[in-house]
């Protein structure tokens, strides 16, 4: 595997992690996930609905995509820990995308609850991937607590506003010893490419694909944008210059 994404000792060839929320149907979701090339995809944990038809888990299993349970909708460390434990039992995975949000209007992470939940889940043997603010200090604290990655937001969940503070993302990447995964806020393909050019190890997105006019086509765009951004990072961009620099030889 060339240039794999490695999280907690496990390798992935795709650097695009997908969410599944907001898809009009499982069939559209299936086609978009295949187009995205993703190998790791988030799911939420909710009460069993006896009337539900089809299962996102069956879909992921059929495509060989690993399910990453999240704790979406939790407002306290206690709630998030309970959901993570249910997810571990239901899905047989100790990996969790930890979300502890502060309020419904912004869906921003609550940093205090997030760090508390991370510490307790790590002590309980979980591999914790926290959805965090784009705060370099909090990212460092989460890494010190033992998180397997840090997942700063580009902008609020579902906003499509892209990366509002690229400088902070760069600061997080510079000092992180674990993968930095840009999570939330991606609006279109260029946002995903920028995340990778800033040095993120991967991008996690949902809304920009699931609510696109053509989710399958946007999933293809995201796959290629993540690859392009990663290649550009490895290739090394030219320095920015104040003035022109001729690319053709001078006239004799």
């Amino acid at each position: 595997m060339d240039d794999p994404l490695v999280i907690a000792g496990e390798s992935f060839s795709s650097r695009l992690i997908m969410g599944t929320g907001g898809m009009p149907s499982l069939d559209v979701l299936d086609r978009a996930l295949v187009a995205s090339g993703t190998e790791l995809t988030t799911v939420a944990m909710r009460r069993v609905d006896p009337a539900a038809s089809g299962s996102v888990l069956d879909l992921l299993a059929a495509r060989g995509i690993r399910a990453l349970p999240n704790t979406a909708g939790c407002y306290t460390a206690g709630e998030a820990i309970r959901v993570a434990r249910l997810a571990r039992e239901a899905l047989g995975t100790s990996w969790v995308k930890l979300e502890v949000i502060a309020d419904e209007r912004t869906l921003l992470p609550d940093p205090i609850e997030l760090l508390t939940a991370s510490e307790q889940l790590i002590a309980d043997g979980f591999v914790v991937l926290p959805y965090t603010n784009d705060d370099p200090v909090l990212a460092r604290r989460l890494e010190q607590a033992g998180c397997a990655a840090v997942m700063p937001l580009g902008s609020p969940i579902g906003s499509g506003l892209g990366i509002r503070n690229p400088h902070n993302i760069e600061l997080i990447v510079e000092s992180a010893g674990v993968p930095v995964i840009l999570d939330a806020g991606i609006g279109t393909a260029s946002d995903a490419a920028i995340a990778m050019e800033l040095g993120c190890a991967a991008v996690l997105l949902a809304t920009s694909v699931t609510r696109a006019r053509d989710p399958e086509l946007m999933a293809t765009a995201m796959r290629e944008a993540v690859q392009a951004g990663r290649l550009a990072l490895r290739a090394g961009r030219v320095p920015r210059r104040r003035h022109a620099q001729a690319s053709s030889p001078a006239m004799n």
Partner: protein
């Protein structure tokens, strides 16, 4: 006795195990977890977990999200 399963009251005529309560909602052999009064109970232990009047049971699975 009356138990609460996913927020809905359920009147049980006789003795019930956690496995019986889960079976009210789903027969899926995997992908489901259950908590009894807030504590997760491992699937192999469901049949040996008796329920008592007033117990609250949560039965969850993975859905689209995130």
């Amino acid at each position: 006795m009356t138990i609460t399963v996913n927020g809905e009251p359920h009147l049980a005529a006789g003795a019930m195990s956690l496995a019986d309560a889960v079976a009210l909602l789903t027969t899926k052999p995997a992908g489901v977890a259950a908590a009894l009064n807030g504590e997760v109970v491992r699937r192999p232990d469901w049949p040996q977990t008796p329920l008592a009047d007033g117990d609250e049971i949560e039965v969850v699975t993975a859905v689209q999200g995130g």
